[in-house]
């Protein structure tokens, strides 16, 4: 044994004797994870969160979260001698007078956008592959919590510099708060410590932004990952993969290397964006004053859909008993987002209620094999995209020479009409793809080779799939509609009530499938000819 190995061994022994880590590590470092690019979307979120913690800590060294008025005399001349809040002045200081400050600010903001985009991409992967099913419903709920808090955390970060754009955002947030019936104005007064803008809001949201929410994030992310660890990662169906095993590579060394490398890649891409592309140039916006506003004031994309909803809302208000209820803010700003996020959180439970499926699932669905869920996802995506488009209606209007009114009316009507159409089209597409799969299994791949038989008939040679390929195309479950009788023994209609009727309808729609070819069907084809 070399001397260096001896030293390493004794150090490891020293640690193990005091922590008992060796046994634990031996068991866990060999843990197997399945391999697929879409399983790395969550990693993008985790790594950009770490980047956010690091770059955010750097920013706190100079950021002064205060609405105290100061006169700017830093190096950005176009704002010289203007009165502004200390928070805006210190952000300017970070941007222009701290070495690497602007780069760090831009990395922090780009990382936030990548974090949110990554979360959405990860959420879509989990939804469309059915990874939220039993036993992973809790992790789905944690994920919904993370995306919701991510939106809030991002918005608070956008609000902190106290530039013209962030002040505008806070003003809209205040309006949404005020739109809550009865308690709205009290809540707004409570949040702002008096009338808008006051002088306590920035310090308050700073504490929430750098302490409370990151703490909750850390806790939720830890539980999220622990559950993945404990429940083991899902895998795509394939030969040798069952509900009881995980086929992949061990954590050490394969995933240690891969994940470590991917962290640096995510960091590199974020730093690259921070270095080459300007984000939130606060010095151009100027300090916030309630009397000013800029054309094209927008939130970041993860709130753009919310802005789009508010922009398309018709101006409806009710005046009663000396109170005004602003439906035009209340509905798009609170009620619809509430319905959307509650629906998202409850989806795993709703789906299992409809299918009656209470078994554990560790094999993922191919989206085409669950047409209803896939269509619902596509429909929701269409809804979000349309309202997101309306969130940027002014920018779209000027850049594509359209009128803002046309875009608003297109999205107002489109948001009701287009999602159901997308649902139907997606469902049909899924069923068509299932039919294509069935065709492939039964008749093989078209090779394009035409052969003339002795009696003159032309046939195209089909190449049979490998058993592995056939397995992937046929392994999925064939759901049966729930047996909910329309009438009971005594002839009473809908014995389970309206709830039962809905469940029965949905279950039937959900079970609409092209049946995968059975073994006998496949054999019958093999024996005969095409």
């Amino acid at each position: 044994m070399k001397k260096s190995e001896k030293i390493a061994g004794s150090v490891a022994n020293y640690v193990d004797e005091r922590t008992g880590a060796a046994k634990w590590l031996k068991k866990n470092l060999t843990k197997v994870f399945p391999d697929h690019w879409s399983f790395m979307l969550g990693e993008i979120c985790l790594y950009s969160f770490i980047i956010l913690l690091l770059s955010g800590t750097f920013l706190t060294f100079w950021f002064d979260p205060s609405q105290r008025e100061v006169v700017y005399n830093g190096s950005y001349a176009p704002l010289s001698n203007l009165t502004m809040s200390a928070s805006y002045a210190s952000t300017l200081h970070i941007s222009f007078d701290v070495r690497g400050g602007l780069l760090m600010r831009q990395i922090h903001h780009w990382a936030a956008l990548i974090f949110m985009a990554g979360i959405i991409a990860h959420l879509l992967r989990v939804f469309f592959t059915g990874a939220f099913r039993k036993p992973r419903e809790f992790n789905w709920l944690i994920g919904v919590g993370l995306v919701t808090l991510g939106i809030v955390e991002g918005f608070l970060g956008y609000s902190l510099p106290d530039d013209l754009l962030s002040g505008t955002g806070i003003r809209i947030a205040e309006a949404i708060l005020q739109a809550i019936p009865v308690v709205g104005s009290y809540l707004a007064f409570f949040a702002f410590g008096g009338a808008f803008p006051g002088h306590v809001f920035i310090p308050r949201i700073y504490t929430v932004h750098v302490l409370l929410l990151p703490g909750i994030f850390l806790a939720l992310i830890t539980v999220h990952l622990m559950l993945v660890w404990y429940q083991k990662h899902t895998q795509y169906p394939g030969p040798g993969r069952t509900e009881k095993n995980v086929v992949g590579y061990p954590l050490m060394p394969v995933y240690m290397a891969k994940a470590g490398g991917f962290f640096f890649i995510v960091f590199g891409v974020t730093a690259f964006l921070g270095a080459v592309a300007s984000i939130n140039p606060i010095w151009l916006y100027g300090p916030y004053t309630p009397g000013q506003i800029s054309a094209g004031s927008q939130p970041d994309f993860y709130m753009g859909w919310l802005d789009g909803l508010v922009r398309m809302a018709p101006p409806i208000e009710t005046h009663a008993f000396g109170h005004t209820i602003s439906w035009n803010i209340l509905i798009p700003g609170l009620i619809i987002p509430g319905i959307l996020f509650t629906g998202m959180a409850l989806y795993p439970f709703i789906e299992s209620w409809i299918t009656g499926d209470k078994t554990e699932h560790h094999l993922l669905d191919r989206p085409r094999n669950v047409p209803n869920r896939t269509a619902l996802g596509a429909m929701s995506l269409a809804f979000m995209l349309i309202i997101l488009i309306n969130g940027g209606n002014d920018i779209i209007a000027t850049h594509f020479h359209l009128t803002i009114n046309q875009i608003m009316w297109f999205t107002r009507i489109g948001v009701i009409v287009i999602p159901p159409i997308v649902f139907v089209i997606t469902k049909r597409l899924c069923l068509s793809l299932q039919r294509a799969d069935r065709e492939l299994v039964l008749h093989g791949k078209e090779t394009g080779r035409l052969v003339m038989l002795p009696h003159g008939e032309f046939v195209e040679i089909h190449q049979e799939l490998t058993p592995a390929q056939k397995f992937i195309l046929t392994q999925h479950e064939q759901p049966e509609p729930l047996a909910i009788p329309d009438t009971d023994a005594g002839g009473v209609r809908n014995p389970a009530g309206i709830k039962g009727k809905i469940r029965s309808r949905m279950s039937k729609a959900n079970a609409e499938q092209v049946s995968a070819p059975s073994e006998t069907e496949a054999k019958a084809i093999d024996g005969g000819h095409h």
Binding site: H36, M40, P78, L165, Y249, A295, G296, F301, D394
Partner: protein, 268 residues
């Protein structure tokens, strides 16, 4: 002689006679006109010259503008009266190519000017002669480099202009297809004239609302914003978070997913 005359006369009916005559007429008219316009004009004019300029402007007006604005600039169904709009309005509208309009869309757009500087001056002189109005701005007034205050101009810009023209003067959307155009690349005198005449959807900022000195500060800030390098890298159009979101979903997540696919492939 008789013979020669007859021969020339016979060419009258030649099929190229009419086009040739038009070409000759156009060339002579154009030459006369360009010579005349080169001779007239200039900043300091007195009585007779001014009258000629007004006369010339009236002729251009009759040819190029009267079909919409009326033969005496009294306005019509589709265009406003120009009596009292002043030389500044003409200098802005014609000098930025907005007038004459190319089509009857929501708003006259900036394009290559149809009339040159002399013709524009003649038109302005004619319209100014109809009734008093704001005078065109000359270079001697535009001392913004010396007298303007950039920071104060920025404050005034954000208070009075940014709500339509965006925080960095990039322009923005108004209702029904109208828009506030970008201020980048606009000549200082046109910015000044726009403020005093309020073209199209823009309000008039009189000298009582924004003093001439403040107007110069605004112009100085716009010019500073225009020439300011993009300090944070590619500007993404200086239109706010929409383009940032677009970039993060395409380039940002695009690269990362591409690399994830590549990493997952290597393991096979």
């Amino acid at each position: 002689m008789n013979f020669g005359f007859k021969k020339v006369a016979s060419y009258r009916r030649h099929r190229f006679a009419a086009p040739a005559l038009i070409v000759v007429a156009l060339i002579s008219l154009g030459t006369t006109f360009s010579m005349a316009s080169a001779l007239t004009g200039g900043p300091h004019m007195v009585g007779a010259e001014q009258t000629t300029l007004v006369q010339e402007g009236k002729e251009i007006f009759a040819r190029g503008c009267s079909s919409c604005h009326g033969i005496n600039a009294e306005g019509g169904n589709i265009a406003p009266a120009l009596v009292g709009v002043g030389a500044a309005a003409v200098d802005f509208q014609v000098g930025t190519g907005r007038m004459p309009m190319a089509d009857m869309s929501q708003q006259a757009m900036r394009k290559r000017p149809v009339y040159n500087a002399e013709q524009t001056a003649a038109l302005a002189a004619y319209v100014a002669s109809l009734a008093p109005g704001p005078a065109a701005v000359n270079d001697a007034q535009l001392t913004f480099e010396r007298d303007g205050n950039t920071a104060q101009g920025g404050e005034l810009f954000r208070t009075n202009c940014a709500m339509c023209h965006n925080f960095a003067g990039q322009g923005g959307a108004l209702s029904q297809g109208k828009y506030a155009p970008t201020l980048m690349g606009v000549e200082p005198k046109h910015i000044y004239e726009a403020m005093i005449t309020g073209p199209q959807s823009m309000p008039v900022f009189s000298d009582k609302v924004i003093t001439p000195a403040e107007k110069l500060s605004i112009i100085k800030w716009i010019k500073a914003a225009e020439s300011e390098p993009n300090l944070g890298g590619a500007s993404l159009g200086r239109v706010g978070p929409v383009t940032e979101g677009l970039l993060v979903w395409t380039l940002g997540l695009g690269i990362l997913i591409g690399i994830a696919v590549w990493l997952a492939m290597k393991a096979r």
